[in-house]
Symmetry: C2
Subunit: 409 residues, 2 copies
C-alpha cells in the first residue's frame, strides 16, 4: 500500500462527465490498494469567468479580493469530485486550502507555501477515505487571508502535499501522456521517455516542452518527490521524473541524451566593433537588463583590431525594445554597428549522460554540418548543449539529431 | 456615528450593475458617518446552478459537500462587492463565514449559529473599512467543516452580526419597501407601516405577508436588534421592527391594529358525531400529526346527544392525506361523518393594541356581519384574531376590515 497524490487540471475536471471520469480513475487507484489524495484545479473556463466579473468591478481588482474570488473555483471542484467519488461507492472528503491547512506567506496572487500540516489528511486516509484537496490555494497564517499560489499552482499544491505526506508518488494528469524525446509534431518518431531526471526535466521544460510547471519540478527535486506525468484520457505509465539515483538497474543502458528541446521564441542582437575595454559587457547588457528584458545566451568574440563583438539572444517580443536601447549605447561606446535577427531558433540537447561522456558535442556539430546547417551560437551547461541556427533549418536539424542520437530506438 | 448592518439578498446582487448599485447605497451610508457591515447572499441563480451540478454527481448529494459547494456563492459576492466599494473610493474588506468566524453547530444544510466573534470586524470598522461578510454560512468549530444556515440564512447572519456587534440597526434590503397593513393587491389603499413590533411581525409573517424569514425576526426579538425592512431599489425609510418599548412618544397614538394578514392555503376538516369521551381529541389528531401534517386552528363543539364535533384546519396540500387518515379513525371511533372543505381562507387581524383594548373582536365580527360574510371558525391569541370564512368572500372581508379599522388613515 502506497500513498499516492494525484493532480487533475482544469480540462480534466471541465464538466460533469470529466469529473465522473476522474472519480473512476481515482477509485481504480484505491481499488489497487493505495491511499489517495487528489489535488484539483477549477473547472476550465471558471477562472476566466470570475476574472471577467472582477474586471467589471474594478480596473485593477484588489489582489486580496481576487484570491477570495478565484479560490471559489477549486472549492466547487472539490465538492463535486467528492460527491462523484461517493456516488461510485468510494468514501471521500473535501478540504479547502485553509482547512488542511496549507500555510503560505501573505503575497496575494503568488503566495509561496511555507508549511503543510498533514495530520487531518493522514487521519482521513486512515479512515479509508480519499481526500480531495483544493489546489492553487492556501491561507496566510498571520492575517488569516485566503491566498493563491499563482500560475501552475495546482501542480505545486500536489507536490507540496506529496512532500508533507511523504507520498510514494505524485501523479500529474495532463492532456499529454508523458514527456517525449522531442515534439512529435516535428519528429513523428519521437518516443515517450519512461524516466527523466529532475535536472533534465527542468532543462526540457524551460526550453519549450511545456508539460509541467517549472516551479513544481524544482519543488519535487528539492523534496525528492517522485513525479509522474500521465494522460487523464489515455492509459499508460507516463513519464517518471526522479533523481538519477532512483533509476533502477535496467536504466544502466539509459541513453546519453534524453531529449531535444527547441524554441522559436528567439531573437539575436549583435553589437559589433566595440572598443575592447574592461566593463564594456556591463555597459552593453546592463541597460537591457534594467529594462526587464531577459537575456539568454551571450557570446563575446575578440577581434584583431582591438575591438570586440557582442552577440546575445532575447525573446522575440523584446527585440525591438532591446535594439533601441543598444543603438543608444553603441553610439556612446563608439561601436561600429548594431544588428538584429529574429529569424533564428535555439535547439538544445539535454541528457545527464553528458556529464560522463565526451564526444556528444562534436557528434552534434558533425550531424548539423553533414546537413549543411550553419551554427551561429553555442552554449553549454553540464547536461545541455544549445545551438542557435537559422529558423528555416529547425525541422531538419531536430530530425537529423533525433536520428543521429538514436532517440527513436 | 452608529454601527449599521445591511443585508442584501440574491436579487439585489444579481449582476454587475446591481452589485455596483449596492456599493453606492453602502457608500452613502458611510458618507453619512456610520460604520457599516454588509451581509450578502449568492448572486441570484447561482445556488440553483450549483445545486443542479451536485444532483448530476449524486442523487442525494452529501450534506457536507453541499455546504462546501454552495458557500462559494456568497464568497464570490463578497469579493465582487468589496471590489465595487473600493472602486468607488470606499475602503472595504471581505470575510467568509469561517474568517469572522461565525461559529455554528455541525448540522449541515441547516446549522444554528452558536457564537460570533466580532473582534476582527470591529478592528476593521475602526480602520474605516466597510466589512463585507458572506451570509448564510458558518464554520462548525469542532470539525472545522463549512456549514450553511438553511433557508433565509443571510437574514439570520445579518441579525446575528448585529447582535454580536451591538449594532444600532439591522437593515434588510428586499424587493418591497416595507411591511404593509395588508396585501396592496387586495386593498390598494394599504399603507406602509413605519413601525411594527417583533410579535406583530411574527404573526404577520407566518400568516403570509412574506417579507422576512420568521427565524430572523425571532432572533432579532431575542437579542433586541432593531430590524428595518427597506427596498434596495426605492428610496424610503421602510418599516422598523422593534419592541413596543422602543416606540417613541409619537407612537402613543399607534393604531390598535397593525395589519390584516390572510392565507388562501387553508383547508377545513370536520369529524362529526364523535362519542364524547376523554382522549377522543388525541385519538383524532394524533394520527394526523404523526403523518407530519401540521394542524393550525382547532375547534370542538359539544353536541346535545352525548357526541361532539371536531373541526380543524390544515394546509391545502395536506387535505387529502388528512382525510384518508380521518376516515380510518372515524370508523374506529364510531363517528357519524367526516367532511372536508378546501374553499376556505383565514383572515387575521394583528395588533399589540388588542392587549389593552376590548371591543376589537366584536367590531370585527360586526363588520363581517354587515357584509353578510359568515364566520366558520374563530381563533385568538393575545395580539391576533383569526377567522375562517368562505374563499369567495376573502377580498370583501379584507377590504371592509381595512376600512372599518381605518388602516388606510
Amino acid at each position: 500500500m502506497a500513498i499516492i497524490v494525484q493532480k487533475f487540471g482544469g480540462t480534466s475536471v471541465g464538466n460533469v462527465e470529466r469529473i465522473q471520469h476522474v472519480a473512476k480513475q481515482v477509485a481504480k487507484t484505491v481499488s489497487e490498494g493505495h491511499q489517495v489524495v487528489v489535488a484539483v484545479s477549477a473547472m476550465s473556463g471558471e477562472t476566466n469567468r470570475l476574472t471577467a466579473l472582477a474586471k467589471e468591478m474594478q480596473d485593477r481588482p484588489s489582489r486580496r479580493e481576487m484570491d477570495v474570488l478565484l479560490t471559489t473555483g477549486e472549492q466547487v471542484t472539490i465538492a463535486l469530485l467528492s460527491m462523484a467519488l461517493q456516488a461510485q461507492g468510494c468514501p471521500a472528503i473535501s478540504y479547502t486550502g485553509w482547512q488542511v491547512p496549507i500555510q503560505t506567506n501573505d503575497v496575494h496572487n503568488k503566495a509561496r507555501i511555507e508549511h503543510i500540516d498533514g495530520k487531518k489528511i493522514t487521519d482521513q486516509l486512515g479512515q479509508g477515505k480519499v481526500v480531495v484537496v483544493a489546489g492553487f490555494q492556501g491561507i496566510a497564517m498571520e492575517s488569516g487571508d485566503i491566498t493563491t499560489l499563482g500560475r501552475g499552482g495546482s501542480d505545486t499544491t500536489a507536490v507540496a502535499l506529496s512532500a508533507a505526506l511523504n507520498a510514494d508518488e505524485c501523479q500529474i494528469y495532463t492532456d499529454v501522456d508523458g514527456v517525449y524525446t522531442t515534439d512529435p509534431r516535428v519528429v513523428p518518431e519521437a518516443k515517450r521517455l519512461d524516466t527523466v531526471t529532475y535536472d533534465e526535466m527542468l532543462e526540457l521544460a524551460s526550453l519549450g516542452a511545456k508539460v509541467l510547471q517549472i516551479r513544481s519540478v524544482e519543488f519535487a527535486s528539492k523534496y525528492n518527490v517522485p513525479l509522474r506525468v500521465l494522460s487523464s484520457m489515455k492509459e499508460g505509465g507516463g513519464t517518471l521524473i526522479t533523481t538519477e539515483e532512483n533509476f533502477g538497474d535496467s536504466d544502466m543502458e539509459k541513453p546519453l541524451i534524453s531529449g531535444i528541446a527547441f524554441s522559436r521564441d528567439e531573437a539575436k542582437l549583435m553589437v559589433l566593433g566595440v572598443p575592447d575595454k574592461p566593463g564594456v559587457a556591463f555597459q552593453i547588457l546592463g541597460p537591457v537588463s534594467d529594462a526587464n528584458i531577459e537575456i539568454d545566451m551571450i557570446i563575446q568574440n575578440q577581434g584583431i583590431d582591438g575591438t570586440t563583438d557582442f552577440t546575445f539572444t532575447v525573446s522575440r517580443n523584446d527585440m525591438d525594445a532591446a535594439l533601441e536601447i543598444l543603438e543608444g549605447v553603441a553610439t556612446k561606446l563608439g561601436a561600429r554597428e548594431v544588428m538584429s535577427d529574429d529569424t533564428i531558433v535555439k535547439i538544445s540537447m539535454v541528457g545527464v549522460g553528458m556529464k560522463s561522456h565526451s564526444g556528444i558535442a562534436s557528434n552534434m556539430f558533425k550531424t548539423l554540418a553533414d546537413n549543411e546547417i550553419n551554427i551561429q551560437m553555442i552554449g553549454t551547461t553540464e547536461i545541455k548543449i544549445s545551438v542557435v541556427i537559422d529558423e528555416p533549418s529547425l525541422e531538419l536539424a531536430v530530425q537529423s539529431l533525433h536520428e543521429a542520437f538514436e532517440l527513436d530506438k
